[in-house]
């Protein structure tokens, strides 16, 4: 299959080429939705963020300049939308901490995998938002350190620090809940 770059697809999508539009949606919507879901812990809100992200992308396509990778730009838009939602939630509920789903108190040896998944998802959702973003981008979605730092508009050193703190917090939380 011939290699088709993002830029080719973007140019064609801007002209309304349905196959290029489908290609961009299929390639990037899972990552955007995944990031928003991990950040917000709410599927409906995450879908809203995904829609708004792609709406902005469609508007940007005709004047798109490849100063950043399309993927990086798209994830950055999604992340900033998530930050906005989280900030509004904080403002409306001052002092309220993110809710953690209380996992089943069954012993770890009997805990089903789905329960473990729920526990780790809840633990990620309870992380400070920038730690959750760093962990999602690098550990769950496989973005490189450079890409993740660009998406988060931070330095690579700061990203590394966020990742280390996120993983430490997760280990503690999961150990307390007898998951890990």
């Amino acid at each position: 299959m011939a290699f088709v770059s993002d830029l080719d697809q973007i140019t064609r999508a801007a002209a309304g080429d349905p196959s290029a539009i489908s290609w961009l949606v299929d390639r990037y919507s899972p990552g955007v939705l995944g990031l928003a879901t991990r950040m917000l812990g709410d599927r409906m809100e995450a879908e809203d963020v995904t829609q708004e992200t792609f709406l902005r992308a469609w508007k940007a396509l005709p004047t798109w300049e490849p100063r950043a990778k399309f993927s990086t730009w798209l994830h950055r838009v999604a992340l900033n939308l998530c930050y906005d939602i989280l900030r509004k939630k904080r403002e409306s509920l001052p002092g309220e901490l993110p809710e953690m789903t209380d996992p089943d108190p069954t012993p770890p040896e009997r805990m089903m995998q789905t329960e473990r998944v729920k526990a780790i998802e809840a633990a990620i959702a309870a992380l400070p938002e920038r730690q959750a973003a760093a962990l999602t981008l690098c550990a769950l979605q496989g973005h490189s350190q450079v890409e993740a730092a660009e998406i988060m508009e931070t330095s690579e050193e700061a990203l590394e620090s966020l990742l280390a703190r996120a993983r430490r917090s997760l280990r503690v939380t999961l150990a307390e809940r007898s998951v890990a």
């Binding site: 999508a13 801007a14 002209a15 309304g16 080429d17 349905p18 539009i21 489908s22 949606v25 299929d26 919507s29 899972p30 939705l33 995944g34 879901t37 995450a46 879908e47 995904t50 829609q51 792609f54 709406l55 469609w58 396509l61 005709p62 995998q113 473990r116 998944v117 780790i120 998802e121 990620i124 962990l135 690098c138 550990a139 769950l140 490189s144 350190q145 450079v146 690579e156 590394e160 620090s161 990742l163 280390a164 993983r167 430490r168 997760l170 280990r171 999961l174 998951v179 890990a180």
Partner: protein, 157 residues
Amino acid sequence: MKDPRMTSTLSDERILDLIEAYGADPAAFPEAVSDAAARRMAEAPGLFAKALDDARRLDQFLDLVPETEVSASLRDSLLASAPKPKRAARPEIRLRRFLPGWLPAGAVASLVMGIMIGVNVSLPSSVASAQTTDDADAVMYAALGFGDLDLMSEAAE
């Protein structure tokens, strides 16, 4: 590009920091240091065993987290919000190729003839027969209601 800070000397402490941040797999480390870190970890496994064990356990949990699937309805709405294909040329424009080439010239000729006939028909005979330009102007002026109507009547006679 390689990070000279890291490739020249990669301390054991630095490798522990990398494991703490990126997990047990050196492939997840920054590209500039991943090879060197993997070599050092293989040389002295005992130094990193505890850190790697902790990191590996967490990595396994993170691997359990499923990828988020995009529902068909979300996909459809993303596609529906996308730019629409540019409209094809209007059929009228395509029809032009079937029209005869002399048509525009014919239209212009018809227009000129129409104007000439119209001018001749609409001019009162008094104007047409006026001897001088001044006479004609006076008649036209009167016809428009600005001058002496008697003059117009007189001229018409």
